[in-house]
């Protein structure tokens, strides 16, 4: 089995939201409200239990790459399709007490809907704020990396429908190389703030969703330096057991005095 990954490129995205529609249709996801956000053309706003692809619309007072129009009053509109990162050290997977969240043969992180009991611990354990509990259903859901399609040798629905190949899909090595090459190409063409967003240097490790970003990750609501919560297990447990032991010693002293 190949270890697959997404690479999402905002310089190719036209903001059509075909990925959002394809994901909803293929996975049979319920709608999550028809509300106007007032935030550019983004009325989806965030990833959630029923939204596994989300197209961000960034309006920024900056020039887009080599753009020369309106040099004194720059403006750019950046689109990027966000998705579950499928982390190597996944907070949700570590937190899940039932074993409902598993690692698949494609190295993706998958929630088994027939096992999840809706404890909600994964929700607070995702450093990217991806997974959520569906209120009417009670279970937690997120992107499956189209496990069913990949199992059948097919490309995930979002990547398949993307009309501009802004969402690329392939082996993780290939995607990492393409991200590097594309960033170099963009910089050469004047996109001086283009860079690859990759958590590989953090405790989260390699992710199976790579992104090219223009400008700071904060503007995309991407954590600049995410941490896998499990790295704090040892220090937290040590402190807990030491506190409990001290507490017991105090009790013994109080009763023996």
């Amino acid at each position: 089995m190949s270890v697959s990954a997404f690479l999402t490129d905002p310089t190719l995205c036209i903001g059509c939201k075909a990925c959002e529609v394809a994901c909803k249709e293929w996975n049979g996801l319920p709608q999550d409200g028809l509300e106007w956000s007032g935030f550019s053309y983004d009325n989806t706003r965030r990833l959630g239990a029923s939204t596994w692809r989300h197209v961000l619309f960034l309006e920024q007072p900056r020039a887009l790459g080599p753009q020369i129009a309106a040099a004194e009053d720059p403006f750019r509109w950046v689109f990027l399709s966000d998705v579950c990162k499928h982390c190597e050290n996944a907070g949700c997977l570590d937190a899940c007490p039932t074993g409902a969240i598993v690692r698949t043969e494609f190295d993706s992180v998958f929630v088994q809907p027939d096992v999840c009991n809706g404890c909600g611990y994964c929700v607070v354990s995702c450093p990217f704020g991806v997974i959520d509990r569906r209120p009417d259903d009670g279970r937690a859901f997120k992107c499956t990396f189209c496990y069913d399609r990949q199992k059948a040798g097919l490309v995930p629905a979002c990547a398949k429908t993307c009309p501009t190949e802004s969402i690329k899909f392939g082996t993780i090595e290939e995607m990492e190389q393409r991200a590097e090459a594309r960033v170099a190409e963009l910089r050469e063409r004047g996109y001086s703030d283009a860079h690859a967003y990759n958590a590989a240097d953090t405790s989260v490790g390699r992710t199976h969703a790579l992104f090219i970003l223009l400008g700071e990750p904060e503007a995309y609501n991407f954590p600049p330096a995410p941490d896998a919560p499990a790295v704090h297990l040892r220090s937290a447990w040590t402190m807990a057991l030491v506190s409990a032991a001290v507490g017991f010693l105090i009790l013994c002293l109080a009763f023996l005095r």
């Binding site: 920024q60 937190a95 007490p97 607070v124 569906r134 506190s243 507490g247």
Partner: protein, 334 residues
């Protein structure tokens, strides 16, 4: 609506046309529609200020469980300490009963909070060291069984049923019960500390000391309210209230941005009210009115109320923290 032209807009349009004709370019930032702020996505504002993290989905049952689990776990530790000292057999039995009743309430609260309560048994489907919730679920299950044995054996021993055997079983069950109880008492701090929520994660070293002091203090205060106004519970009351005072003072004096939910808004007021009741109020009552039973009972009641309120404050603080991407960016850019 009148269809007559607005003279101000008309003159502005003429000016734009004139400027465009003359220079081939129009300067100025354009017009903002009334009452609609121009949205902007920037490193400072994040993505339109929308939350990056998901809010905790836990409801009112969970803080109440933290409280009940703390009382239950700490009560077994008190029972064992009393047994080792050998001076307060009635208090020991009462503590065991409190531990048992509180332990039986815990699973009800936890199951009610699940999205799929009928699947509660899935909690014991696997054991995962890396999941504090899995460790906690197994601890609670084992602890409850051991406490049932301890209560039955202790009662049987007191009734004179095979005292040598039931006495031995009581010792074993109380030692194991206290060990598991101390884990039950403190693991909830790990549960919160090992998450992506900044205000919990950044307090992962403070939380265990707070939860342990709060749990032991609550169990001791409950015993006092049941009439065990012994010197030991008074001394425990002094120490835990002093510690809770220090915890509150450190949150206030360090004044970290990440702790803002503990100082502002609903969660901030709850944290301050709970911390004050369990800390300085209970401490001063013990210092000045500690010689009278009424004063001690009032101190115990204040501590219990404070401990319960602070558990809610921590959940609410987590919600407020998850909604503030700014605090997370600042932390990660440090």
């Amino acid at each position: 609506m009148s269809r007559e032209a607005n003279p101000r807009s008309e003159s502005r349009l003429d000016a734009i046309r004139e400027e465009a004709t003359r220079t081939g370019h129009v300067a100025g930032s354009g017009l903002a529609a009334s009452a609609s702020p121009t949205p902007s996505s920037s490193p400072a504002a994040g993505y339109y200020g929308l939350p990056l993290l998901k809010a905790p989905v836990w409801t009112w049952e969970v803080p109440l469980y933290f409280f009940a689990g703390g009382v239950s776990g700490a009560s077994t530790a008190i029972a064992l300490a009393a047994r080792i000292a050998g001076r307060a057999p009635d208090l020991e039995l009462a503590a065991l009963w409190i531990a048992l009743i509180a332990a039986l309430i815990c699973p009800v609260l936890l199951i009610a909070d699940l999205g799929r309560p009928s699947r509660f048994l899935n909690m014991l489907r696997v054991f995962k060291r890396q999941s504090p919730m899995s460790v906690g679920a197994w601890t609670l299950a084992g602890f409850t069984g051991v406490v049932i044995v301890a209560v039955v054996a202790d009662e049987a021993m007191r009734a004179g049923l095979a005292p040598a055997f039931t006495g031995g079983v009581t010792w074993a069950a109380e030692i194991l019960g206290a060990a598991l109880g101390l884990v039950l008492l403190s693991y909830t701090a790990v549960l919160l500390g090992v998450t992506a929520i900044p205000v919990w994660s950044e307090n992962r070293r403070l939380l265990p000391t707070h939860f342990v002091a709060s749990g032991i203090g609550s169990a001791s205060a409950l015993l006092e309210l049941f009439g065990f106004l012994v010197p030991a519970t008074q001394m425990v009351g002094f120490i835990v209230s002093a510690w809770e005072t220090l915890v509150g003072a450190s949150i206030e004096l360090r004044a970290r941005a990440v702790d803002e939910p503990l100082r502002r808004g609903r969660s901030g007021w709850a944290a301050r009210a709970g911390g004050t009741l369990a800390g300085p109020v209970a401490l001063l009552l013990r210092i000045f009115e500690g010689s009278s039973p009424g004063g001690r009972e009032l101190a115990a009641a204040c501590f219990l109320a404070g401990a319960l309120i602070t558990r809610y404050a921590w959940l609410w603080a987590g919600r407020a923290s998850s909604a503030n991407p700014r605090a997370l960016f600042d932390l990660q850019r440090q």
